[in-house]
Symmetry: C2
Subunit: 435 residues, 2 copies
Amino acid sequence: MSAPAGPILVQKFGGSSVANAERVRAVARRIVGVHRQGYRVVVVVSAQGDTTDELLAKAREIAADPPRRELDMLLATGEQISIALLAMAIHGLGEPVISLTGPQSGIYTDDMHTKARIRRIEPARILRELEAGNIVIVAGFQGQNSHEDVTTLGRGGSDTTAVALAAALGAQVCEIYTDVDGVYTADPRVVPEARKLPSISYGEMLEMAHLGAVVLQPRSVEVAAQYGVQIHVRSSFNHHLGTIVKEDAGRMEKEMVVTGVAHDMNCAKVVLMGVPDRPGVAHRVFAALAAEGVNVDMIVQTTRATDVTDLLFTVGSDDLERAVATSKAVCQELGAAGVHTETGVGKVSIVGAGMASNPGVAARMFEALAAEGINIQVISTSEIKISCLIARDRVADAVRAVHRAFALDQPQTAAASEPGQPGQALSGSRIPESA
Amino acid sequence: MSAPAGPILVQKFGGSSVANAERVRAVARRIVGVHRQGYRVVVVVSAQGDTTDELLAKAREIAADPPRRELDMLLATGEQISIALLAMAIHGLGEPVISLTGPQSGIYTDDMHTKARIRRIEPARILRELEAGNIVIVAGFQGQNSHEDVTTLGRGGSDTTAVALAAALGAQVCEIYTDVDGVYTADPRVVPEARKLPSISYGEMLEMAHLGAVVLQPRSVEVAAQYGVQIHVRSSFNHHLGTIVKEDAGRMEKEMVVTGVAHDMNCAKVVLMGVPDRPGVAHRVFAALAAEGVNVDMIVQTTRATDVTDLLFTVGSDDLERAVATSKAVCQELGAAGVHTETGVGKVSIVGAGMASNPGVAARMFEALAAEGINIQVISTSEIKISCLIARDRVADAVRAVHRAFALDQPQTAAASEPGQPGQALSGSRIPESA
């Protein structure tokens, strides 16, 4: 059998796609189908199902705050189990296959254990194995630092592994298989009439991910944008085409002003009350939060009196405890009145590359919320998104109202393609047919 | 804190010693105690409890006969989990520590996946970590081949890892922690009055291990003998001194003719009946068995008539199926009458370096068995052991009778030390005090 000389295709399967033996075999059949079409296939896999959480629980049984290097040594086993099992399943189907750990795949990272960043990829071994005709199975989420110690890339890191490999190998498309069909105009569990988007720009996808659509790790989208790798987000449970994440060039006039509605229940509000109103105070607060690794999202400052101000910001619920501790310490230093928190809040956002040049979009969103009697606590805007913090128990109503207000259930007229004919939007990409 | 410059001590902990978080912490305390005495400590660990079996079950769910390279990729994760957890526990006790996989430890093997042999050890990384003051935790059972692929050393391979590391690092003693107190004159579950041996020679230990005492992997004893590494077999559940495996030089006159009684229930008898009695037949049979990887133990040939003979041998129960299939094929080729098997058999053996020069030892053993009315089916002898195949349901009686016949419950008079004062037998070794 001669080695395939076809284009390189990178596919990534998440933990739920390989959660048990049956699913591993299903994924193997899919990979083999594509390989038999002539593609040179590189597959990135995550740890099975809840393996990573189980390993973390093992660590916590031993130590409250284990050294991060050893945590990486532990966590890296999850993906190593997946690649071995998937390789066994593909071998069972009669195709040549080899599994490689992150270090074996030439994935070099910095030293930041548990949240390392890929520095470079030396794909010599992968290319050699492809040359030999093998399907190559790569452990996602991991690499090695300059000491040859294994590192991990943080939650969702396998997405970044896959996109970075696609870039290093010159693959045009990186397929990311997940348990959803693609990127929707809103969460279909909240808005039943939400539409799957045939394509979305890198920038929009970044905002969608940051805003809690939870489909791709943001860093993977950044890498894809940087190297021009198209990401095809699709389901591992069917053969439908999903959503292509790519450069914005496709749409000439951006009739589709708003691409989708995102929401996030996992946030909390922190208010530093009676902070002295003088230069450098905000810096002091947010530098302290950054030093503790707290990701701050929305920030609002309102002057309450002549010499004091209230400083309001939102954080992810996971970061709340550290945010409050840090804020209290800073308040004491600054002589501020105190810290107030609120957890019953949620965020609704509209995202769209055409927004910046289309006045009236924000107004239409606020109108939709007002018509539902929903009070807006905080507003934050960027070139391609507008977010509103509201009461958490009104978030679902808000998403539906905004989705309706922008007619997102209606197919868009211009370059965006009709639903049911997503192939149109994918022209120019080399997408393997469903096996 | 200055780096310790004391002697290097290699310790190995088996799977039951690190089966859960509590035991991992207990092992960590023991290691830290020795490190604080000034030893430079290198620890080899096996996979926790039943991890290896669980991983094998995962593989079997996917494929009946998975590729061995991928099996090694899978199995190696078991030890990687152990080393990370143990390092976390030691770190929690405030000592500097680092875990290393087999490949990171510079353990190079041949290409025989799932039963690789260590070719060489390049301990530069281990020495560097010791230099830095770290306790070094090494994953047992694994190494890498010349392609930088992970390999495993077969069941019990962690023993060999530990002894080979001790040799490479110039350590005088390799402590092997297990769930028994040391090597006994017989299995204490069968013979309550069995005595723990303060020391035993490499040769005796090899026979004991081969005969089913199941304490050390035979290859580890071979490596220890070759490099003069003393093995201290002891319990991880208490601080008693165990049994030292070392060269035989200690005993001048070998008063202790018989060291111990071993038994093995895990064997089966195969008889090739009516085999043509001509040169080359035995070679044909046993070459075919060897090619299938069947380990043959006892062999007896008896002439039944002028031109045909019965060829009898024993194998481990695990190998029986393959042994029978191979034997049937060979019988057909040779025109032999057929293959008969018997599984209700067991083996009782006496082992002792002084046996060869002491006539009458065999006779005393046979007499003890006869007095119990136990029929001997097969006898096999070597320089330092005599084995008898008997009915499996009489094995326990046989072990007790033979143990009594050689007065093994009585302390020996000469250089072998008194029970309760095992320190004497250990003089000349650098054994760390129990922490």
